[in-house]
Amino acid sequence: MEVAKEILDIKESYETKYGFSDPEKYSFKAKKGLSGEMVRQISAIKSEPEWMLDFRLRALKIFFSRPMPQWGPKLEIDFNNIFYYIKPVEKQGRSWDDVPKDIKSTFDKLGIPEAERKFLAGVGAQYESESVYHHIQKELGQQGVIFLDMDSGLRECPEIVKKHFGKIIPAGDNKFAALNSAVWSGGSFVYVPENVKVAMPLQAYFRINAKNMGQFERTLIITEPGSSVHYVEGCSAPSYSEDSLHAAVVEILAKENSRLRYTTIQNWSNNVYNLVTKRAHAHRNAVVEWIDGNLGSKITMKYPSVYLLGEGAKANIISIAYAGRGQHQDAGGKAVHMAKNTSSTILSKSISKDGGKTTYRGLLRVAKGATGVMSNVRCDALILDDTSSSDTVPYMDVAEKNVSITHEATVGKVSEETLFYLMSRGLKESDAMALVVRGFIEPFTKELPMEYAVELNRLVHMEMTGAVG
């Protein structure tokens, strides 16, 4: 019921709420364009160890040598017209009080109070390329939990980072993983020691502010045996007329009997190319869950994946995508079963409106010998008008017979009867439509922390009622 209130209270326009931009204020801004020199410069400013510089330079070579993807949405990116590194403030804010005022006001305008203020103690927030605020709750520290921005992680936990960085997603995995590996900055580093269960969700809020600035955050999460953690990030960007690029890499290592849930809601402005590689390795009896919401952006290509490497490991991938005018959401999930008795569930829900396009692209692979695998893939598309579209590209590669696999796909529209029924109870047509959409994505929303569910429903409502402008 809380949710319904939030939806109807929102009257302000998207531009006011999300389309603002604060005057840019940076302590260092690299030149536009990509070069070895620029990569060296980034690494030098961060005083990185030699191996990281080598890693970056190798990745840059790979990036240059790879063609653009020959599948999926057409990407028109001018790599020479992007800022690859911007450092907004000289030093990291130690406490919330140290965070500069204009940056705080940006968080205020983003509506973070609803989503985050309550949990501020656990927030790691990224503003531009560098985290400006990081605070780990005392208990977390005492439990040995490490929750840092990636740059600090590299400085403070060099052995762990060196051992795992770029191992689950090597630089050569794909062109954009290579780009990220070359110029990455920020992101989160999370380490949960054996048998530690982190009760509160760890939250990070990412944001792009400068024009033509690429955001290349890099996240690495390691859960030791028997531990559990929920990591949450929400993203939003102001609207700019020139295109921006977001190419992130998220690597997760879930060891035996550990549990990890990674929740993302992204709401990039409609000029952002959002190209993200997310992959988890799940060892014996580990459970990895990707909860992935994609709104906004011009093009999103994102297929969170789980490699089920140990017997009994489980993957759960739930995603929603919303595509409006000029948007293409190409999203889905991948489950790669390498061990016996592993199971996966992929639920994908997409909504297209005003000429938007959604694509479910998924992979289900079962290796030879991985008997007793159970997998359930379901994708539902809701198309709200005749100019919008949706399609499904499921790949299946099953090398084992003794498995149980189901795949279901539905495509639906909102019926005249449903709209009439809801309108007969006083709801305007757009509100009725928003309500149907809200119900459609409920299997996703119910997995979110309350504040995020409210925020998501509000965003969807703004999209539905045309408050987006």
Binding site: A4, S415, M423, L427, L435
Partner: protein
Amino acid sequence: MKLEIENLHAEVDGKEILKGVTLTVKSGEVHAVMGPNGAGKSTLSNVIMGHPRYRVISGDVKLDGASILSMSPDKRARTGIFVSFQYPAEVPGVSIASFLRSAHGAINGKEMSVIDFQKLVKEKTKMLGISDDFIKRGLNEGFSGGEKKRGEILQMAVLSPRLAILDETDSGLDVDALRVVADGINRVSSSPDMGIILITHYNRILKYVIPDFVHVMHGGRIVRSGKSDLASFIEEKGYSSLEAT
């Protein structure tokens, strides 16, 4: 409140169904509209609510003297018209509670606080003997016929319209469920500000909900009007006995 249906002609998919219906309903009155299948009863309720598939050919429907025919369904709802549908749409994932709060807010122009609204709903569910869990379920999602009807009556109780049209609210209910629903209607309709049109095929609900007036519809017209004894007459003689007149 005064609803006036004046010589109403309406069609669906190019076929004329209502062929001159005239009926006036005032606050505090319960009108039963009876008739065989195909008489145009459900068409009447859909036309009054403004279903987009139905087209008015001529005639008028006025609420307190002003025509409502150019209004969209949501505007009609906001003037205080409510239809309890025979086959309400399923809206998966939207709980009755959150839907009702939105609807209540839309009709009253302002949403109640969560706490006040919970109180209101609690009062109504208690009155209707509906469990608290019921309102947490998805709107009509996987509901049995009886659950749908009770859900509609609950909506009516919470939204407290000025004119309620109950379309075949009794159909498909067993005797116990019928009694519960009828009891609910009586409780809600005890408000002197509300007028009711009770559309039914059978008169069995009229044993529990006593109408002030009974109208018999046939071939898209009201062919006979009377007091509640007309219902018993029809039960004995059947609709065909009226055709000759």
